[in-house]
Amino acid sequence: MPIQIVNTRNVDKTSFAPGLRISSDMDLLFLSGMTARPPELDLSEPYEFSDSIEEQTRSVLENIQGVLDEAGITWSEVIKIVRFYTEAGGNAIRSEYLGDWQPCSTTLGVDRLPDPGAKIMYDVTAVVPRA
């Protein structure tokens, strides 16, 4: 397998991979930090963030989905997600998109995100298999 989830113990007790190994030549795709703000919207344009962490999370995931689509890959090629949040929640929605896939995960509570009103930002790394 070119992308191998590392499980160090034979237990099913985690919702993310402790590690993930890339063992063939693939392009790396780095996404900028993504909030609920539509990426096509200019940063100088006002954007009304939802008060709901669940709704914001869904928008974040939809925004990322758009980038993955454009790159011709799926969530199974996402190898790492760093979540920055000012309000906890939305994990169940992430599972809707990731399904059984368990990329590496790091979660960090922060005081502020770059866009006022944003409660959650995902920083995603993916791989793109070479044709």
Partner: protein, 122 residues
């Protein structure tokens, strides 16, 4: 840090002193860790080493470390512990440290994530 050969990439999730395998969402009875930063650093390193060991990698294969700390002034104490694993910085990966407001559990003061490269068997 520059890696200039064909290598496998090994990404590790961020880990605090909390045991690598724990329930999500977190449950209080699993959240046990020492208060002191040196003890927590050792436990983070233990967790990371479990994954490196599993993949046949060593600390010498680590190329990038991100440290997330509740208190940036604890950096010296953290690095003092980490030095014991990195041969007293005989091997020194690229490293970034930052202070953040919350980690995955209340008592956690430090979270470490890293990237390692592993030479391919030819």
């Amino acid at each position: 840090m520059r890696a200039d050969a064909d290598m496998d990439l090994l990404f590790l999730s961020g880990t605090t002193a909390l045991d690598l395998y724990h329930l999500h969402p977190h449950v209080p009875y699993e959240i046990t860790m020492p208060e002191d930063i040196a003890g927590q650093t050792h436990m983070c390193m233990r967790n990371l080493k479990e994954v490196l060991d599993d993949q046949g990698a060593t600390w010498r294969d680590v190329v990038k470390i991100n440290r997330f700390q509740k208190d940036i002034t604890e950096s010296a104490a953290i690095e003092g512990v980490m030095a014991q694993y990195f041969d007293f910085w005989d091997w020194w990966p690229a490293m970034t440290a930052m202070e953040i407001s919350r980690l995955s559990s209340e008592p956690a003061r430090l979270e470490i994530e890293l990237i390692a490269v592993i030479p391919r068997d030819v």
